[in-house]
Amino acid sequence: MSNASATSALLDLRQASALIERGETLAIAGHLDCLTALPRGNWIGGTTPYFMADEGGTCRLDRVFVQPFGPQVGEILCYDRQRLPHMLEDAPENGFSIVILPAASAVLEDYAREAPNYPDMYIKPIVGWVAGVHLDQLGSAQAQVIDGRSGHCYSDQAIVLHIPLPPEQTALVHAVNLFTPGTGPTLRFDETGFAARECLIDGVRGSLLELIRARDIDTRLPLVADYCGAMINVSIQALESEPGLVSFYAPVFAGVDYRFADAVEDYSARFLQAMPSDGGPILFGCNCILNYLYSQLQGRQTARLTGPITFGEVAYQLLNQTAVYLTLEHS
């Protein structure tokens, strides 16, 4: 992959169209009206009007965020629920994959639950994000992903761009998560799922909802689990969508120990500290809508990590409240 290709940027439709017509392979994020106005070409897309641009966090209905991967490279494939588990078998032996999944879809739920067990998971690099809608349209609009070759939009399929790399290059996946487990009780769930009523609280069965209320836990803070040093968040979506129920944006996994996170003060400044200055060029990045909202990132920068603001992030598996990026390194 050439480092000399175009760089990721928030562009107007004329600029984005020029890249498509030049034959660039692209991942594009934007409002549905923008994406459907783009010419057909070798690109994949997903809906979100929120972006981390060079100038900082922003919401734009008239621009798209474009991530280029070089001229006429890669393979675009759509995956329904049946084919989804074979996604990484289709990925090149040396390369990487970019996946975009529509929010509130069965295909996303499948990926969130099962991806850790997919063949070749963690062996072949995969990053991506969950498409969503403007927060004012929650409940009235549907997140979409788009196959740029045909212009077809899907709310029930994942779209993936598989990109091979030459032997002298390799792609590395990174996640920046400023949350760490707090000092509260350890929570362990009986079943993998997007919602729970009860769990083991320091080994004693109890109501998660009652725990949250009794301790006055700030539900903007995620549950955090330690995966051999990788902090993996599960964000709270809602309390009592049904009586006694706590629902999550990603599944909690059975047998994994979680704790509510400590609060993060001044996310933007802490992010700048956490983001390594070394490493290869960033090919792809995204950050979570909950970080954008809760940490008030509008107009604030997150170092050299730009990209769509998303409704879930993929660094191999589905993550919440995390920034994800992919670098190109020499093997």
Binding site: Q82, L84, P85, H86, E89, D90, P92, E93, N94, G95, E114, P116, N117, Y118, P119, M121, Y122, I123, P125, P164, L165, P166, P167, T170, L172, V173, H174, A175, Y227, C228, G229, A230, G255, V256, A315, Y316, Q317, E329, S331
Partner: protein
Amino acid sequence: MKDAELCHWLLEVNEPWEVSRVRVDTHSRELHAYLSSGKSWFGRYLGEQPRSRWRHLNIGAYKTYIHASLPEQNEQAAHPFLGKSTSDFTHGLARRVIQCLQNGLRYRQVCALLDIDIHLAWQIKHAIESGQLATADTDLRARLQLDDPAEQSASSIPPGDDHAWLRLLALDCPFEIRLLSLKLLLARARQDFARAHDPDMRILRINELRRFFIKHEKHLQHEIAQLNNERQHVTEGGQP
């Protein structure tokens, strides 16, 4: 003729086995054939049936890999296109290596001829030397010794049967990891390992972990050094 049918003939796959799917990676010059025995996944995903992956004889200039699920292959005879759960190579590849050695080639020449990398070369050599490949040819084993032993020690990644992998998969083993992918892979492998009672399943997890180390060797020097410190500790008489 479809790809799967063509591969069925090229790989000499016998019933009840069939080639469900073929993937050709032109950039890596690899061919991956996914086999089923007609009663299982048929292209569907069964999360509880992890698959083994074996290196097979090349097809043309393409390295060939066979993928088949563990429970299915265990019920079957030693078909050339399958391998043992403990191996990264098929019976067919092992037989060809032995044939070449018996025909007078040096081991290094065989590996070059069949495009076998250093990690797989060590595993096949170890299998021959330890009698796992059911060859009673002591001359052949002696001839293996002629090759430079530095070849096999050139890799710093422990072989699959090394105790270091079992230690790494123990839930309480401290291990400093820099790559996100390895953190997640090891977390999953440790969970599975703790739950798995089937020894083949445990071997599969070790093989997968080792495959990751081989693939990312250049980015894992820090982690490989820790593995080798562990081996050194055990060799010097420390508690495993």
